[in-house]
Amino acid sequence: MSVTKEQVQERVVEALASFGPDADTITSSATFEELDIDSLDLVELAQIVEDEYGVVLKGEDMKELKTVGDVVELISTRAA
């Protein structure tokens, strides 16, 4: 499967927005803490990513991710 970083970015922003924060606050440098995205949200995001890109994000992967940009980068790299 070939997917661009822009497509991943768009999907991640859409998913995160469904958890509460306004879409325009979800920038690459925004941290999950700032966005009030918690562990359950990240589990759901991982589920979406697995279903749609076949990329499995484990608990230890998620712990390392602090910002929206981090997660987009990781997914893009693994989906490539």
């Binding site: 359950l40 759901e44 589920q47 979406i48």
Partner: protein, 248 residues
């Protein structure tokens, strides 16, 4: 939260639905408007009889064979039911259960493992599978069939009691984890219910029932029906005893 219509655009799955309490639950949910997947392990004829009875009453049902202790069973069972009805599973009742009674000093590893695997581990795995869809649907109902024996000791059932107590605490914990996704997870704790499973259980327990009678599968199913209903949307992590006062 309130949903526009109920049942939502989803179907129900009842494990161990071919007889006893499970069969009564399948019929109850079908009567409440759910399309119901009736899981069974070995009793195909009994499961098909449940399906036939539901269909005769104007409902929708589908019999699906699976040993719930098979780690692959949740994925394959959900897929089969969802494909059959063309709807995601938005109500799950973990009812499949077994007993292998023996006093603890002589309880075998096999008796212990079989009961834990079926009554606790399988319920966890089916719940995990269900949550994937329910969390994203922002609605869902999971009901775990526990037992009064998970709350009150009954000699000869240390394996069963441990599994059911574990199931109750799993229910509570998972419930708080996903509560804000509109998904509720509750347990029903039946007491002495007239089924094949209780036919040869130590009858001393019946003397302790304040209602002075055994309950029926339909009385348990009615409570499950409530917990799966729209009206129960703010009930989660609860344990509803259906035991004629035995655990009171």
């Amino acid at each position: 939260m309130s949903e526009a219509s109920w049942p939502p655009a989803g179907c129900a799955l009842v494990t161990g639905g071919s007889r006893g309490i499970g069969a009564a639950i399948a019929k109850q949910l079908a009567a409440d408007g759910w399309a119901v997947g009736v899981n069974y392990r070995s009793e195909r004829a009994a499961a098909e009889a449940v399906v036939a009875e539901i269909e005769a009453a104007g409902g929708q049902a589908f019999a699906i064979a699976a040993d719930v202790t098979d780690p692959a069973a949740p994925a394959t069972t959900f897929q089969a039911v969802e494909q059959h009805f063309g709807l995601p599973v938005l109500a799950l009742v973990n009812n499949a259960g077994i007993s292998r009674d023996n006093l603890s000093p002589s309880l075998t590893d096999d008796e212990w493992d079989a009961v834990i695997d079926t009554n606790l581990t399988a319920a966890f795995r089916f719940t995990r599978q269900a949550l994937k869809t329910m969390m994203r649907a922002r609605t869902g109902r999971i009901v775990n069939i526990a037992s009064v024996v998970g709350l009150r000791a009954n000699a000869g059932q240390s394996n069963y009691g441990a599994a059911k107590a574990g199931l109750i605490q799993f229910t509570r914990t998972a419930a708080i984890e996903v509560a804000r996704r509109g998904v509720t997870i509750n347990a029903v704790a039946p007491g002495w219910i007239e089924t094949d499973m209780t036919a040869d259980v130590n009858k001393d327990l019946l003397d302790a029932v304040p209602a002075r009678r055994a309950g029926t599968p339909a009385e348990v199913a009615a409570c499950v029906g409530f917990l799966v209903s729209q009206q129960a949307s703010y009930v989660t992590g609860a344990v509803l005893a259906v035991d004629g006062g035995l655990g009171a």
